[in-house]
Every structure is written in C-alpha cells, then in structure tokens.
Symmetry: C2
Subunit: 459 residues, 2 copies
C-alpha cells in the first residue's frame, strides 16, 4: 500500500459513510466545493496550487487487492460493500481555478461533481494536497513579491513535514515564482531546476578551510559556490581571493560564495568589498540561514549586496500560517442545494462561480461569488478541468504556469502586496441570488426538520 | 522513483559533496549527531520520535537503476562516481535515545558513525523524518498531559502537510499517548487503532436529520457515533433521544454523539442533560473542531462533560511550533573531533552521551552532556540501535513503546508539564571535558587556518 496513492489514506468516516451510502443506494450526483473560510494571519491573498496532483490522484484512484483484503479482514465492513469498492473509479467532473490564481476567502477554487460515494471518498486526500501546496505557494509568493529579481531557492526539505511535503514544497514554490529547489528528486519527477552548494561538514572534514575550497572547486570547475561562514566569514572571503588566481590558471572560476549565519547584511557588504577589491566582481553572494520574506525584505531595504536567497524552514512549513481554514463541503445532492448551518461554519449552497473585476489600471478591484447559472460580468475563474474522470487538458508545463502566476501577482494592488496584514481586505461580494437560495434553504430545512416524525425511520 | 524511499530525496549539495569525497577518496569514519539547538516557543520539553522510520530508511538505502540513469544523464556528475553510487549501502552504526524519550536542547538524540559519504548522504532525509515525528509527538504529549484519562484521537490528515505527514502524525501522536487516529492507512501499515464517526455531508445528503441518524445507526449497530451539530445541536440531541427506544428494539445502541462547533462546553452540558434525562447515561460525548491542548485544558477545567476529543490541524502541523531548530552536525572525522563555530550555530565536538539525573521523588532533576568515554553517574540515554547497517533489535511494538513514553512523561516535574513556557527551564550541563575539547579544537583550528599556505592546494 503506497501512502501517496492509496485510497486508504483517508479518514475512517469516509469509508463508514460510503458503506451507509451503499446500503441505501445513495449514488445520486453530489456537488462538493473546496474553499477557504478566512485568511490566515499575515496573508492578504492566497495563491492556488496543487490541482495537478489532485487530478493525477483522481485518475488513478482504485482499491488494489491488498487494500480490499485488509478492508475485508478488518471486520469493519461488509463483504458485499468491499466487493463493490473493487470497481470504484472516479468518473466525475472537476471545475477549478488554474494553479497560480490569486484567490480569497469564501471563493470556491475547486468543484467536484460526481456520484456521492466517489465525491465523498476523495475528500481527505483532495484537501490534503490542495491545502498544502496552496499554503506553500502563498508563502513563496511573498518572497517573490519582495525580491522579484533575485535568485530564490527552496532549501526546506529537511524540515518539511515528511517526504511528500518536501517534494511538493519544491513544486509549489516554483509555481509561485521561485527559481528552483535544492531537493534533487524535484528534477526527475517534476523537471524543476535544482541548486546546490556545499555544507559545513565538507569544510569541517578538512583540516584546512582553504584546502576544502580548492578541492571542491576542482571537482566542480564551472559551478562552485563556496560556503564561507564555518569559522570566520571575512577570513574565508580572503582565502577565496587568495585562491582565485591559481584556480583561474587551472581554468576554474568561483561562481559564488554563500553566507549562512551572523549579520548577513554586514557580512555581505564586507565580503562584497573583499571580492571586488580583488577584481572578483562577477562572484555572486548567496545568503541562507533562517530566512523568510521579512528578512529578505529587510536585507534588500538595507542595501545588502546579496544576489540570491536560500529559503528553507519558514517556506516549507509556512511557519507563520502553517494551515488554512480550508474545507470541502457538500453544496448540492440529488439536484437539491445543501447547506451546513453549524455555528461559525455555515456554507453557501449550490454550484458556484467566481467573477473577477479589475480597475482601469488592470489591478484587482473586487470579486463576486454567485451561482453557476447566474451569469455575470467580470472574468469567471472556475473552469472545467476534468470531464467524466478524464482530464480535459494535460499539464501545460511550468513555463506557461509560471507566466500565468506572474500575471496574477502583477494584478495585486499595492496594499495586498505588503507583507503586513492590510487594513483594507479585498472585497468579495456574495451575490443576491446566493443569499436568497441560502435563506430559502433555511426556511425549508426548518420546516422539514421540525415536522419529520421519526417513527417511520428505523429498519 | 518513490519519494518515500529514494536516495534522491535529498539536497543537491549532499550529492555534490559525495562526488568531491569520491574524487579525493575521503571515506574515513565520520560521526554526525542530531540535536535541537533550542526549545521552540510554547515547549518545556521535546519528545523523541521517528527513529523507527530512520532505521527502516537506512536498511533499504540504495540507488535503483532509474535513479542512477537519471544521475548520469543529468550532466551534473561523473560516470565513475555514478557507478560508485550503484554499490552504496549504509554500513554504519547508529546510537539513539529510544522513541518516547523526553529530551532537551543541546542533547544529541541520535548519532551516526559511518564512512563519510554514507553519513553525509542520509542527512536530509534523516532530519526530515526525526524532525517531523518529534514535533508532532511533542505537541501530542501536551494533550496527553492535560487529558490523561480521555479518548484522544488524531483527526488531522486533511490538513497535514502531504501524505506522509498525515500518516506519520498518526504514528507520532500514538507514540505520545493518543488513543488512535482517523487515518485508515495507519491501521494496515502500523497497526494503530482507528476511529471514525460521520461527516456533515452525510446529514446534509438527507432531507431529514433524524432519518440520517437512523439510517447510519442501522448500518453500524454497535459503533454509531452521531454528529449532531449540522443544524441545531440541542434539537439534534432530542432527535437522538426520540430515536433511541426504537433503535433499542432493533438491537441498536447509540454509542455516542459528536459536537463539532459552537460553545463546546455549553453544548456538552446541554446535550449531557438531554441524554441523561432520557436514560442515555452510557452515550458518550465526543468533541472536535479546531481543538488543541489549550482548548482541551480549558474545557476540562470548565467541567465540560466530554469523554473524548478529536484533535486535528493544530496537532499534525504542530501549529504553534511547526518546526524545531534541529540539526545533524559533523562531530568527528577520521578520528579527530570537528566543530563549527558559525555565529549562533557553534557545536560541541566529539562523540557524546547524555546522562540523566533524577530527584528523590523520581522526577527529572538535570542532564549532563559529556563525551562518550567520560563515563559518569546518572542514566545514559543513548543506546546502540544499529550495528554495521543492521538493526540491533526489531521494533518492540507499540505496547512497550507507549508504556515507555508514559513512564517518561511521568518523570516531568510540574513546571515542565505546564502548557505555558516555564520560567525555570530544565538544566542541561555541558561537562568540563567537552568544554575543554572545544577550546582545544578552537586553538588548533586557529593555528591551522592562519598558517596554511594556499599555494599547495590546487591541482
């Protein structure tokens, strides 16, 4: 059983509900929508990501022999139900905002239309995938906004929450505009550019720091980035300068140096001066070490001569907002709108579309959430991406996707680009038809819930 | 290439360093230790977890044909180096604190002794595994401490950071003392008890809430937990009461009800009264919905009659401390102690052991970190768990492990059990021999680094 693809990577209640749906033949069409209830702290917008992984998951969804055998012997489920699961595939439709779309609370970014058991079963993993890539893309976009012309590299694998988080964080940050990642596997699996320098252990394993530099440079004559903070940053920079002429004679160019600790702005200025003083003006300075978008912003504001940033833990854990209040809720079943009214968690019923309106200068103005059949002015954001369980289009490729994201970020007005929470949140209007539908549903539910006699219900 | 096992799930610099080690024949024994530099906010102790996954990873470590082919065609590595990787296996020793051990900053909890390339290559994934399970176990332990007699269930899969995070969070919280998880796959893969109720969508898919309750109960006659907050919690509780006699006649007992929104303490009291008033004193109340250890503590302090808690997002993302300053650092190479002196990131050199001292009442008093060969009084915490790449013992099983954790948590003095940060942090002494070794290393390094003439180094 592979956790990355297994339908058993789900909550137990999905399977118990499926057994109940099976028992009562409840296979009518269900409509679920994924949306975020509210902005997390420190965010003025959210950037959608993860759709690609969801579509791949849906296309391959099936219970294999091991999984069926385990379900049967677990004693939790009936034999006929387990047999029924053998044939289960995802045959529904999916509508979604493209990855890289800027979105806001209460806006569905993904809608699933499928027979109830299918639409229900996929809930846990669908949220798991979209939620995670979206929090990382949203975090990464903030660094992209403050350092649009710098090399930004994901350095987070080691403190990502498991293997898939490390891998998908590389993808999500690349979707958002990062230059690449240090995670090797992202290259063969996704085609994402990979970057790497050297670690302190390499320096430490040598008795002499300069010997470590020279040795490393010789093995990688065209791409050497030397880590210079193991003992004394400025002293190490002078060793690099001393080595450079000999390396040059051997055809080796030191591409850059990396700072990983201390006062990065001060070290960068000192090191830049040392390098420039020796004519090494093309040698770049790369910084890492507990960085996030705030520190990057402050370093650049301080004029630190840094060419690139490795951003790790804060990025891949989205540390200041490690989760979204993201949900996947039933909006319609068997042709009837559905709604949950739980305190603080009420939902808008029905199949919805989001229309985006722009100001004269092309910046975002406001969005309108309405019913799918209430066609409105503005640009509709949800598109059909899967029909009858088959993708409408293949993956367009990262060039197209990253260009789309860039265009999306370019429409953010200044107050939404700031790292601090804006006092003027983006306006998302709930259309009158949606409010009317919700009110109508509430009236009907109240009458049904109060009039139902329960004595006809059992057995 | 399977992200969960692939050696390419690593940072690029590990592979570039390996190529340099290969070029220079640097295969001497390296000693790396994993430790946490400082406590994160809101934590008075850390609970070790993830060792089992690390040992499994090391035992199966190898590059498969696809991975070797990709490395070769990448253009980043030499053909002979890639050929060399074909035979790479982990043949080293591992010393570790058992999972479930309470530990503190600057204490190595895991030591790897292996030829340098092996010890280096595994860094990223080793940290990735231990770091994540440890943050979740540490978070989970806090709920266990405030609600030792309650049913505690991991509900976090959907907002965990990817598939492996969901799965390992189930494991780590179970290690810490949770009763189980909602994540189905944790049962077949780990043998962890699974729990599930029903979701709002099941209720919503019915026109009548009571019909949904009755229908679900009929399918699960012995284990029904009904979700009662979809529309009106107290009204739903009265529906449960009205249904109960009929269900009973059909041989069906309602095991419990679940609250998922609103003022949980008030609802729990109202619902308890409604249930008890109808003689349903055995029907339990289970609560969920944005819970964490603080809310659990407060609900219990308020006397809320709640029998169990589903804790999700806050647990699996360790949301108030989603990462540790956890590192894996070279402490010795080729028989010589090694040390990094980077500002704010200096390490203690050499192979270390941690000795624990207890007060007269069995509570923790203080720990001493010293060199392995400086045998001291107190209980040594690091044990040999892998020898020459083979595990010393198999997994002892969760009964043993959970019992061990319970014993560990029982040794926490009151000020370390509090949810808020203690003003009196636990005392971890660095032994004099360790300080002397560090000072000696610094003197030697300074003389080597300053005397080295770099003109002998290149080519």
């Amino acid at each position: 059983m592979n956790p990355l693809t297994s339908p058993l990577l789900t909550d137990l209640y999905q399977l118990t509900m499926l057994q109940a749906y099976f028992a009562y033949g409840m296979r009518e069409t269900a409509v679920f929508e994924f949306f975020v209830r509210k902005l997390p702290p420190h965010r003025n917008f959210i950037l959608a990501a993860g759709l690609e992984q969801v579509l791949a998951f849906l296309e391959q969804l099936r219970f294999d022999q091991d999984e069926l055998a385990w379900l049967e012997q677990s004693g939790l489920f009936g034999k006929d139900f387990v047999e029924h699961l053998r044939g289960l595939r995802f045959t529904g439709d999916v509508y979604a905002m493209p990855e890289g779309t800027v979105f806001f609370p209460n806006e569905p970014i993904l809608r699933v239309v499928a027979p109830m058991p299918q639409a229900q079963l996929i809930e846990s993993r669908l949220i798991n995938l979209v939620h995670f890539e979206t929090i990382v893309a949203s975090k990464a976009a903030r660094s992209v906004l403050v350092a649009p012309d710098k090399l930004l590299v994901d350095f987070g694998l080691r403190r990502a929450h498991g293997a898939e988080a490390g891998l998908l964080a590389a993808r999500a940050s690349y979707v958002a505009g990062f230059s690449g990642t240090a995670t090797v596997l992202a290259a063969p699996l996704f085609g994402i550019p990979i970057f790497g320098t050297m670690a302190h252990s390499f320096i430490q394993a040598h008795d002499d720091e300069a010997a470590a530099f020279a040795g490393f440079a010789k093995v990688f004559p065209n791409s050497t980035v030397l880590l210079i903070d193991t003992y004394d940053t400025e002293a190490a920079a002078r060793k690099v300068v001393a080595l450079a002429p000999q390396l040059q004679r051997a055809g080796i160019t030191i591409k850059g140096v990396r700072l990983d600790s201390g006062d990065l702005a001060a070290h960068a200025r000192d090191v830049r001066r040392i390098l420039d003083g020796a004519g090494l003006t093309q040698t770049t300075i790369f910084a890492s070490g507990n960085l996030d978008e705030y520190r990057v912003r402050d370093l650049l504001a301080a004029g630190a001569p840094i060419d690139g940033f490795g951003i790790g833990t804060s990025l891949v854990t989205a540390s200041d907002a490690p989760y979204l209040d993201a949900v996947y809720k039933l909006q319609e079943y068997a042709g009837k709108p559905r709604r949950k009214r739980s305190t603080g968690k009420a939902t808008w019923p029905g199949r919805k579309q989001v229309y985006r309106h722009y100001r004269g200068d092309g910046m975002l103005e406001h969005d309108v959430v309405t019913l799918e059949d209430d066609v409105q002015p503005g640009r509709p954001l949800l598109q059909l991406v899967m029909k009858d369980g088959k993708r409408v289009d293949g993956f367009a490729g990262f060039d197209v996707l990253r260009n789309y994201t860039k265009g999306q970020l370019a429409t953010l007005p200044q107050h939404l680009r700031e790292l601090d929470t804006s006092s003027e949140p983006y306006r998302v209007e709930i259309a009158p038809v949606l409010r009317e539908l919700a009110a109508k549903f509430d009236r009907q539910t109240a009458s049904v819930q109060h009039s139902a006699s329960s004595d006809v219900l059992v057995v």
